[in-house]
């Protein structure tokens, strides 16, 4: 009974420059448990796990694994101690095979031939034992996201992990694949593997974990037994105050369509169709939500509608103009017509981190004749423009000279939204507006989107967060594998229905089993275990 904890962290402290990422964090994880760690973006969860995995070194504090104290100076040591990590962004070499990826770092000898053969045997065994079947000779770039994740798990198990850490594992999975993953968790738990699950998805925490720890602003603020808590309590602990999970809004006053998309097909650079034959209308005065797991064509949709990426076939009518594959409209032209675009990835596209805030605030509008006097782009006008935007959207600190990269995620997002919204576009495309943004700013942003819709604009909202889609949208379409797999009014939508639509084009597993049902069957399986 006095088993050592699988993991015990005592007073872990870590700073990155001015940011105190982990502030005297303590954690105890029981062996054989599934332990969840929740927190907002920037709360310090990933940093903590990276320290546990040897990727970073803590400034202070102690790490005990299975009763033994360790100091990890690199991941090699953590792996040797029995810790395996499945990262949010997979650590796989795209053009290597599954086998090569698994043995990387544990090749078993200077020559590959022997190591590859041994690994093949062991991986086949592991695959059978845990139901983790993958084609060992396939290259990673041919595998689906769910299978790639399986490779990551196999990798960890191959290296002897007894404690498995997963960082936001379900963000890129369909409900089906998530189900599969949880089944695998069950099998692992049966074999005594301890699982640490880092996520911000409270429903998953409630349905699958035994215990949960909450982090906020670099500190560990609470531990709970999962059965003794609720989503609402966890959300409040994460944020520190009562959180409004719904948005108050008036009924929509929908008018004429401002954008008509007909049979839009977009192929990527390899010629693979990412968006297939998509048709829908976007009307003034409504928010059309586009739901779906990331990677199902949302990015291509946004980029095609804003002119960044060429269409393969189909037509788009927007604000009285028509564009198709042979007659594209450039991003500049679309902006002139009254279309604005808030990109999904603000660091990659939305602003330029090295530019000052006032220069980022000008991005896309640098040819505006109101700011240019002839050939001269007046600095004072550029700054004034930025000041106005910062005031309107409460961007802090309100300093136009500060480098864009130095603002927090939420403030960066608000600046971009201000830039795109304050010009009163007729059509607004928004991608993942609240990714990496803290709860206070989320409420603000949602309200602004509703304001635009009430002012008679047309808004296309693309998001992977079902809560956001359901609370902000008036109508919802669901993208799955590049096709529209469902259309529904927001009022009629719930997570079960949307989940069904998100998995529509895939395999015929009974989609009626929801998260709650999974939890029930889980509990049953675990209690059977302890009785045996």
């Amino acid at each position: 009974m006095t088993d050592a904890f699988a993991i015990e962290l005592t007073d872990i402290d870590k700073r990155f420059g001015a940011v105190h990422a982990n502030n005297k964090v303590c954690l105890q994880v029981k062996r054989g448990n599934i332990h969840g760690i929740v927190g907002e973006n920037g709360a310090g969860k990933s940093t903590l796990m990276s320290i546990l995995y040897g990727f970073y070194q803590a400034d202070a504090g102690q790490i005990d694994v299975l009763g033994q104290a360790y100091t990890f100076t690199d991941s090699h040591q953590a792996i040797a101690a029995g810790i395996g990590m499945v990262h949010q962004h997979f650590m796989l070499v795209e053009n290597f095979t599954v086998l090569e990826n698994v043995i990387l770092g544990s090749e078993g000898g200077a020559l590959l031939a022997h190591g590859l053969a041994a690994a093949r045997k062991e991986l086949t065994r592991l695959g059978d034992e845990y139901g983790l079947k993958v084609d060992l000779d396939a290259t990673i770039d041919t595998l689906s996201v769910g299978l790639q994740q399986r490779v990551e798990i196999l990798k960890a198990l191959y290296k002897g992990a007894e404690i498995l850490i997963l960082d936001e594992p379900t963000g890129v999975l369909t409900p089906q694949e998530t189900e599969e993953l949880f089944r695998i968790f069950g099998a692992l738990k049966k074999q005594g593997v301890t699982i640490m699950l880092i996520t911000h998805k409270l429903r998953e925490i409630m349905s699958i974990t035994d215990q949960v720890s909450v982090m906020r602003a670099g500190q560990m603020v609470a531990h709970r037994d999962t059965q003794a808590t609720s989503r609402e309590e966890l959300a409040e602990l994460m944020v520190g105050r009562k959180v409004l999970l719904q948005v108050d809004k008036n009924p929509a006053n929908v008018r004429e369509p401002l954008m008509k998309v007909k049979r839009l097909t977009v192929a990527d650079s390899q010629g693979v169709d990412r968006l297939k034959d998509v048709s829908f209308e976007l009307r003034a005065g409504e928010v059309l939500g586009v739901a779906g797991v990331s990677g199902n064509g949302q990015t291509e949709l946004l980029e095609a509608l804003s002119g960044i990426v060429p269409m393969t076939s189909g037509t788009i009518e927007v604000l009285g103009f028509k564009m198709d594959a042979k007659h594209p409209l450039t991003p500049r032209r679309l902006r002139e017509l009254g279309l604005a675009h808030v990109p999904e990835d603000r660091h990659r596209m939305g602003l330029i981190t090295d530019f000052s805030a006032s220069e980022s605030a000008l991005l896309g509008y640098h040819t505006d004749p109101k700011i240019n006097s002839g050939i001269w782009l007046s600095n004072s006008k550029v700054e004034a423009n930025c000041q106005a935007l910062m005031q309107a959207f409460d961007v802090r600190p309100a300093d136009p000279h500060l480098k864009s990269g130095n603002f927090s995620g939420g403030n960066q997002q608000k600046l971009i939204l201000a830039r795109e919204m304050e010009r009163s576009p007729e059509v607004l495309l928004i991608g993942q507006p609240t990714r990496g943004v803290d709860i206070g700013a989320i409420e603000f942003i949602h309200q602004r989107i509703i304001d635009m819709r009430d002012a008679g604009k047309a808004v296309l909202l693309v998001s992977v967060e079902l809560d956001e889609i359901m609370s902000v949208s008036d109508r919802i379409i669901v993208l799955c594998d590049g096709e529209i797999s469902g259309r529904i009014n927001a009022a009629d939508a719930d997570e079960r229905t949307l989940g069904m639509m998100m998995a529509n084009a895939l395999d015929p597993i009974d989609p009626l089993q929801t998260m709650d049902d999974q939890h029930a069957s889980f509990q049953q399986a675990s209690s059977q275990e302890t009785q045996a």
């Binding site: 960044i308 991003p331 596209m349 602003l351 991005l363 782009l377």
Partner: protein
């Protein structure tokens, strides 16, 4: 002083200074390796550059070239492109200047010849950069390798032309005919004499003012116009630039042509201002020197002028050094160029962590700035 301001001072002043000093220190080691007293060498060098009127004239004359090529490299850097083709572009720019002059009626006035030669240099220099630019933009060919190849091709082309086509038939060496006197850019010492000041003759000519004008124009273009904004955005983040409606292929081509054109202006200083004919190898060293100047000047016209002056000094001082000491040649300046590029370019952030720790450390109050909302 706020931490942010301190960091700016470190980045803009202290770091470049330390980097230069390191380059100097290593040069001193090189001198020591070849049995030359570095202090003595420095004295000879400074005397050669500033010790007598003619020397000063030469120094500023060389500086002019470095301003042109420094600006050329800097403009390209701002778009994220590395233009190593300055050597070739300067050389071919000379062809443009020379052709403009040699094919115009010699009775025309200077006010026709000079602008015509400038335009010729700009066009031809720009054209020589156009092909590598096009290949990079539309075929993905690495611009560094293609511009280096074009340097070699320029040499072959120009020698061929001067040997077979443009040769001054009265001479043995491959060079063109002498330009008509109306096509000579006035020497500064001549202009000064006209104004009543007596200064020693040197190659220094009015091109230096052209260089300064170019510096101002480049500054204005990059930071005070929407095209400069587009160029700098492309250099910092190509994806964001596309999002903003900027066409990156277009930018590559335009920027490289401007860059090549600026490099081409070296020929105005060298050929229209001094040699007064097309000669072989007038361009050697300025293209690569421009890289050092741009890096040292952190791609800003003001910094470039200062850096160009430094290299002009080294060039003239180096000539004096080679004259005074038998076992040094002007190649010592090339060594310095390489060291400056190394310490101001590749190793430019080497001292930064140390400087920041000592001069602008993180204090307790500055934790968690902007994290809340």
């Amino acid at each position: 002083m706020k931490r942010d301001t301190r960091i700016t001072w470190i980045n803009r002043l202290l770091l470049p200074l330390l980097n230069i000093l390191t380059a100097f220190a290593v040069t001193a080691i090189v001198f020591w390796l070849i049995d030359v007293n570095p202090i003595e060498a420095a004295e000879v060098l400074l005397y050669g550059a500033f010790g007598y009127e003619e020397g000063i004239g030469y120094t500023i004359y060389y500086t002019t070239n470095f301003i042109f090529t420094g600006l050329a490299v800097a403009v390209a850097f701002h778009a994220g492109l590395f233009n190593i083709g300055g050597e070739g572009q300067a050389y071919v720019g000379g062809l443009g200047a020379g052709l403009a002059i040699l094919f115009l009626d010699p009775t025309l006035g200077a006010w026709v010849f000079i602008p015509a030669s400038i335009i010729g240099a700009l066009i031809f220099g720009g054209l020589w950069a156009l092909i590598p630019a096009y290949l990079q933009a539309y075929r993905g060919s690495h611009i560094v390798i293609t511009t280096i190849m074009f340097n070699f091709l320029a040499a072959s082309l120009m020698v061929y032309l001067m040997v077979h086509v443009l040769r001054d038939t009265g001479q043995m060496t491959p060079q063109s005919e002498l330009f008509p006197t109306n096509a000579w850019m006035p020497f500064v010492h001549d202009v000064a004499a006209g104004l009543g000041y007596n200064i020693e003759a040197s190659p220094l000519n009015l091109s230096v003012f052209l260089a300064l004008v170019c510096a101002v124009l480049v500054w204005f273009f990059l930071w005070q116009t929407r095209w400069g904004f587009a160029i700098r955005a492309t250099g910092k983040n190509g994806t964001a630039a596309v999002y903003a409606g900027i066409n990156p292929k277009y930018i590559i081509i335009v920027v490289m042509c401007i860059s090549g054109a600026l490099a081409g202006l070296v020929s105005i200083n060298e050929l229209v201002g001094y040699q007064h004919r097309l000669i072989i190898d007038f361009h050697v060293g300025y293209g690569f020197g421009g890289i050092a100047v741009a890096l040292m000047g952190r791609n800003h016209p003001l910094g470039i002028i200062v850096a160009a002056l430094l290299f002009g000094t080294l060039y003239q001082g180096g000539a004096e050094l080679a004259f005074e000491m038998s076992n040094i040649s002007r190649d010592i300046v090339v060594v310095m160029q390489g060291l400056v590029i190394l310490f101001c370019g590749a190793l430019d952030y080497m001292y930064r962590p140390w400087l920041i720790r000592r001069l602008a450390p993180v204090t307790k109050q500055e934790e968690f700035v902007g994290a809340a909302i």
